[in-house]
């Protein structure tokens, strides 16, 4: 293991802020932010709850180039209100997606880091999620790839998980999680026997990046560095599936087959075993290289059905 590095592309994705991720992901110096912090478009609602606001409402949106090609980028800040969708936060993403419809960039990148809907602005957040999904479907139909990158501490939960499921392609790191209901929510509603949220190994086995990659819920597995996510994004842009009946029919078949094949599994390790992974118990501790080799042999992990 090498001593600390200050190379921005070696920056840990999990540790970096939204702003650091965007700056290091894009071609150096190419990022231009829309409605930057100096515009002070803060939440009109949080003060009612005696909660502090953020100048960017927890999302950074703008344009940049990636390998010289123009892209639009949105990055959620998972540490502000859990990266949750509030009114302004959601509207900034919607504005970006709508602009993409006219501008036809090489791709739209969404750097998810969200617990879902911001409770204090729940109706606005929920509606924004629906708007985002509609806008993404339109963009994809217009031929613009929408790529989701998931590796932040808040993961992609709630409506964030649904938006992620709408994207053309997803890259995820080991720390990244994708789900609808969070572990605590399931435990609160259904009890600790259903889901022990303190068993973090269980959480990651069920919702984490490696499981999602193995079952085809994500299309690329990235090391926890900005450089790895950049490489994954470039790769995924080049192989974004169309948004048409054939793709969705294929996805229907893919998901139905998944339930038929694994519907009786209680734990992810059982699924991995049926996928042909030799030593399922070893998966969580696998290095990226070993995991990549494992994934390469799993048929379900490779598809255009999204």
């Amino acid at each position: 293991m090498s001593p600390a590095s200050t190379d921005p592309s070696a920056l840990s994705w999990y540790e970096a802020s939204a702003r650091q991720r965007v700056a290091a992901l894009a071609d150096p110096g190419s990022f231009r932010e829309f409605l930057p912090p100096t515009a002070r478009r803060t939440s009109p609602h949080l003060p009612l709850f005696d909660l502090p606001r953020a100048f960017d409402d927890g999302i950074v949106v703008g344009r940049a180039t990636l390998d010289g090609k123009p892209v639009l980028v949105a990055a959620q800040e998972g540490r502000f209100m859990g990266g949750a969708f509030g009114e302004v936060h959601g509207a900034k993403l919607i504005g970006l997606l709508r602009a993409a419809r006219d501008l036809k960039p090489a791709a739209v990148l969404i750097l998810f880091d969200t617990g879902g809907v911001r409770l204090q602005e729940a109706n606005a957040g929920e509606t924004a999620i629906a708007e985002a999904m509609r806008a993404i479907a339109e963009l994809r139909a217009a031929g613009v790839p929408v790529i989701g990158l998931i590796g932040g501490r808040a993961g992609a939960y709630g409506g964030g998980g649904l938006i992620a499921g709408t994207c053309s392609r997803l890259a995820v790191s080991e720390g990244g999680r994708i789900s609808v209901s969070g572990p605590e929510v399931i435990e609160t509603n259904k009890g600790a026997e259903e889901f022990d949220s303190r068993d973090r190994a269980l959480v990651w086995r069920t919702m984490g990046g490696k499981h999602r990659r193995l079952i085809g819920g994500a299309d690329a597995f990235a090391d926890d560095t900005v450089a790895a996510f950049r490489a994954a994004a470039l790769d995924l842009i080049a192989r974004a599936p169309a948004f048409d009946l054939a793709t969705l029919e294929a996805e229907q078949a893919r998901l139905e087959a998944r339930i038929a094949r694994f519907g009786d599994c209680r734990d992810a390790t059982e699924i991995w075993a049926r996928l042909g992974v030799n030593d399922p118990e070893a998966v969580p501790a696998m290095t990226t290289a070993a995991f990549d080799e494992t994934v390469a042999r799993v048929e379900e992990a490779h598809h255009d059905a999204r």
């Binding site: 829309f34 409605l35 009109p44 609602h45 709850f49 344009r63 639009l72 009114e87 302004v88 509207a91 919607i94 504005g95 970006l96 709508r98 602009a99 006219d102 501008l103 809907v117 409770l119 602005e121 729940a122 109706n123 606005a124 929920e126 509606t127 924004a128 999620i129 629906a130 708007e131 999904m133 509609r134 479907a137 709630g158 409506g159 998980g161 649904l162 938006i163 499921g165 994708i178 789900s179 609808v180 209901s181 929510v185 399931i186 889901f195 069920t206 499981h211 079952i215 819920g217 009946l245 969705l248 029919e249 229907q252 998901l255 139905e256 998944r258 339930i259 694994f262 519907g263 209680r266």
Partner: protein
């Protein structure tokens, strides 16, 4: 209104819509074409199997290529909260259902949502909120989270939240607040035949996503539209600069 009453009012000539395990599916004649009906009844939670059953019906309609309306009738719980659903990719299944509806819309099928009971969270987003026009019947109760739960999470007293809810539709549960947000386009009149009201919704369906405009007009989302426009304007300006 009950589902049976709604179906009777939508399809006065009769219909072939069935409910099984809380999932609604079938067809009924609307303006001379066979509309597809999907939905969730009886405050049922939407899990992976349910989502894929509904999406299958939608894709079947798209494959038929007749551009007939698709009606989405909703009285659901939230998404099904379980370890198994998440293990098997509930987010993909719910997103897939929403994508099927959005694809149908792109393919020329009018997609009309009708919420007549409860709905919440992922189930709401994947069904009713994925239609082009979402209508509601009085008494419907869409919510993200009920107020006692909001009180628990925000650590604010319930009575204070109730007071705040009166002036701030953005966080409070209930139909009026969802209408104010722009998520629900219209509230129907149960005293008049739903068939003609739905026909009118189809005829007047907006070409674009107008929910943030409605939210601004109705005051439920005071800034979303302006913020989205400002971002889009800056993006276009930057693009022109190159």
């Amino acid at each position: 209104m009950t589902l049976a009453e709604i179906l009777a009012s939508l399809f006065p000539q009769g219909h072939r819509v069935r409910v099984a395990d809380g999932l609604v599916g079938g067809h009924g004649p609307l303006d001379g074409v066979e509309a597809t009906v999907i939905g969730i009844d009886g405050d049922t939670a939407l899990g992976i199997e349910g989502a894929l059953a509904l999406s299958r019906a939608v894709l079947d309609a798209v494959r038929a290529g007749d551009r007939a309306p698709i009606l989405v009738l909703v009285d659901s719980d939230s998404q099904r909260m379980s370890r198994r659903d998440e293990l098997l990719g509930l987010n993909e299944c719910l997103a897939h259902l929403a994508k099927a509806l959005l694809l149908a819309d792109q393919a020329g099928h009018p997609t009309i949502g009708l919420i007549y009971g409860h709905s919440a969270a992922g189930a709401f987003i994947a069904t009713a909120l994925a239609t082009r026009v979402l209508a509601a019947l009085p008494g419907a109760n869409p919510s993200v989270m009920d107020l006692p739960s909001v009180a628990r999470v925000t650590k604010l007293p319930l009575d204070k939240l109730q007071e705040m809810a009166k002036s701030t539709p953005v966080f409070a549960p209930g139909l009026d607040n969802m209408v104010a947000t722009g998520a629900v386009h219209a509230v129907l009149d149960p005293a008049r035949p739903l068939s003609e009201q739905v026909r009118a919704l189809i005829a007047d369906a907006p070409a674009d996503d107008v929910r943030d405009r409605l939210g601004a007009e109705r005051g439920g989302r005071p800034v979303a539209r302006a913020v989205a426009e400002a971002v889009a304007d800056e993006a276009r300006l930057e693009a022109r600069r190159g």
